[in-house]
């Protein structure tokens, strides 16, 4: 792997973390409406997987979708503007946190319905097969969503038709306000692929290199026309279901442990980068990563500034885009 790719992956993870921290702060200041769901602690999955994709490949995301969008190249300014309901946001202020999409970047949308992106991903993969254009689609979803009946319908059709589809189950240990393990008849989620004839593997979702490796293999398999794969990526939902989640259902000390250097995906990757003796021709210096972090902080601040300075949508736009009038 090239040094540029390592640094880009680090950069994207930090971008997501800082974006989310800003979004959390704005939400806490009552500057956002509704609900928003934080991807903090799960960054390695979105970034590791999307690093295996081309620009024209597609993804579907979830209600916890900011990370997927940024990992696939989404613009933090338009995202932040959308979170603040501005006319310059990705959805012109009509979607908010759970509906951000950028079709030009292959981002087929976050989704407010748990498991709602699964069929859309299969539809995109179906279109790739139909056109024989070599594209693949990644479907991100949580361990709560794998219990939706539609997952089985889609897994069956994806296996049957050998769709170029990669199911990425972010096993963050929670399904809304419960430990998800309460709801699995069998805790080995990789078995969910077995009846449909495609491989299911489990990876350490906080180890970006392990995630990336598994995604590369699944993407290559899909591009070869051999069909779908299921990647179960183990991680931890640091911030609860939504901002403001009372977290009463969670074991004390657990989240703090996952935020430590042994678990946190960014700290782990940073340690790896610094301890690794040689990347290509030279070492990566800590100062270099710190400079990168500073640059990202400025980028996020600029995104917030852009959002705050952007106008709200005019009320006359209420009726726009319900229908396409060609």
């Amino acid at each position: 792997m090239s040094q540029a790719l390592y640094l880009d992956m680090y950069r994207k993870m930090v971008l997501i973390r800082k974006f989310e921290e800003q979004a959390r702060d704005l939400f806490m200041k009552n500057m956002m409406r509704g609900a928003t769901h934080m991807y903090i602690g799960e960054e390695a999955i979105a970034v590791g997987v999307c690093a295996a994709l081309k620009r024209e490949d597609t993804i579907t995301s979830t209600h916890r979708g900011h990370g997927h969008c940024l990992a696939k190249g989404g613009d933090p300014r338009q995202m932040m503007a959308e979170l603040l309901g501005r006319a310059t946001g990705y959805c012109k202020g009509k979607g908010g946190s759970m509906h951000i999409a950028d079709l030009d970047l292959g981002i087929l949308g976050a989704n407010g319905i748990v498991g709602g992106g699964v069929s859309l991903a299969a539809g995109s993969a179906f279109a790739a097969k139909y056109r024989n254009d070599g594209k693949v689609c990644v479907c991100f979803f949580g361990d709560g969503a794998i219990n939706q009946g539609n997952f089985s319908e889609i897994a069956n059709m994806a296996g049957l038709w050998k769709l170029p589809l990669i199911f990425v189950c972010e096993r963050n240990l929670f399904a809304e306000f419960s430990y998800s393990n309460r709801y699995f008849a069998d805790l080995d989620l990789t078995k969910r692929a077995i009846p449909f004839g495609f491989p299911g593997i489990e990876v350490d979702g906080n180890d970006i290199l392990a995630v990336h490796q598994s995604a590369e293999e699944a993407v290559a398999r899909a591009r070869r026309g051999e069909g779908p794969s299921l990647i179960v990526a183990d991680t931890y939902r640091i911030m609860g279901h939504t901002i403001g989640d009372p977290l009463t259902y969670r074991l004390k000390g657990e989240a703090e442990e996952w935020q430590g250097v042994a678990h946190d995906p960014i700290l782990r990757f940073k340690k790896y980068l610094l301890e690794r003796q040689v990347i290509e021709e030279r070492r990566i210096e800590e100062s270099e990563l710190e400079a990168l972090e500073l640059e990202i902080s400025k980028e996020i601040e600029a995104a917030v500034q852009f959002a705050l300075e952007s106008p709200e949508p005019d009320v006359t736009t209420l009726w726009d885009d319900v229908y396409e009038r060609g």
Binding site: H99, D102, L120, G123, A128, D321, V322
Partner: protein, 325 residues
């Protein structure tokens, strides 16, 4: 343009053949639509002509394959998804209502969902409560969807072709007792625009607004009413959403009386919507209260006598009209 007499299902079949020939992005998917030729025989010959990738047989997974249709439409294809009965569309409401209907709006106008859901609605054949519903009002309630209910072979073909070319999701409801009906259909290429009602019978004394099979009932009732000296105008709305209130309003301004016939059950039904719109827009022109003829508020029963009692009929329409004079 010369015409020939063909069946409603043949007219739909021609529309599919022509549109799939015309645009390689158009494909059909659903249960047994391919090799078997379709339970409704509407997709007959498509598999032989276009192959398994464009006449796609699916497992019995309505939510899943309807959702695949939505995703494929977002990716730029133009899927025609067949749901064998509209009752089964209840299994696919998630992709239809939460995804297809809203994608364009919530993505700030940057997405299109050029999807057609073809499905079979209505009662009258003893299929009982889970195969006889008229759920058009459910879909007409959802912003972002277009809802079409043709009544004649000619309309069916022209409207289906327009639906396939439209960039919005269209719920295209075919009545199970219309597939075998025959009528004149032009030889060559033609389209019938979505959102335009059609006056199927001109008249001056009363307006009867209906769609789908209820148009046939309304027309036969109108013939009998004519013998009694009541000259009814029958407006086939064809597209429930968007609703052509202009044509309905013009008719009411002429006749001053309105009867609405809809096969859906009364409570929350589409007849109530037309009635409300008419009261809002042409109240001053009415010489009598608006009357609805609908199915009774019961699940559609199996027994023939019971089913006939549940559904609208020619006699019920005549009674409703006569009550206005």
């Amino acid at each position: 343009m010369s015409e020939r007499i063909i069946e409603f299902r043949e007219a739909l079949n021609e529309a599919l053949h022509e549109e799939m020939e015309r645009d390689p992005n158009v494909f059909i998917m659903g249960i047994d639509v391919g090799q078997y030729g379709g339970v409704l025989k509407v997709s007959k010959g498509l598999y032989e002509r276009f192959g398994s990738l464009r006449a796609v047989d699916t497992p019995i997974s309505e939510e899943g394959f309807t959702g695949i249709g939505v995703g494929a439409a977002l990716a730029g294809l133009r899927p025609v998804v067949e749901l064998m009965y509209i009752d089964f569309s209840c299994l696919a409401m998630e992709p239809i209502i939460n995804q297809a209907a809203k994608a364009r709006y919530i993505f700030g106008g940057k997405a299109n969902v050029p999807l057609v859901i073809r499905t079979q609605g209505g009662g009258g054949r003893g299929n009982a409560a889970q195969h006889s519903q008229s759920l058009e009002a459910v879909y007409a309630h959802i912003p972002g969807l277009i809802v079409v209910q043709p009544s004649t072979p000619k309309d069916a073909k022209g409207l289906l072709k327009s639906a396939i070319r439209d960039n919005n999701p269209v719920i295209f409801i075919e009545h199970k007792l219309l597939y075998n009906t025959k009528g004149p259909v032009p030889e060559g290429e033609y389209l019938i625009p979505l959102g335009k009602a059609d006056i199927k019978r001109p008249g001056n004394d009363v307006t009867i607004v209906s769609s789908s099979r209820m148009v046939l009932f309304s027309l036969s009732a109108a013939e009998k009413l004519a013998e009694e000296g009541i000259n009814a105008e029958v407006v086939d709305i064809r597209t429930l959403k968007p609703l052509d209130m202009e044509t309905i309003g013009d008719s009411v301004r002429k006749t001053h009386r309105l009867v609405i016939v809809n096969e859906g059950v009364r409570a929350g039904g589409f007849a109530g919507e037309v009635m409300a719109r008419a009261y809002e827009e042409v109240f001053d022109y009415l010489d009598a209260p608006i009357v609805r003829v609908t199915s009774e508020d019961v699940p559609i029963p199996y027994n023939e006598k019971l089913e006939l009692a549940a559904l609208p009929s020619e006699q019920k329409i005549m009674d409703a009209v006569q009550g206005l004079f």
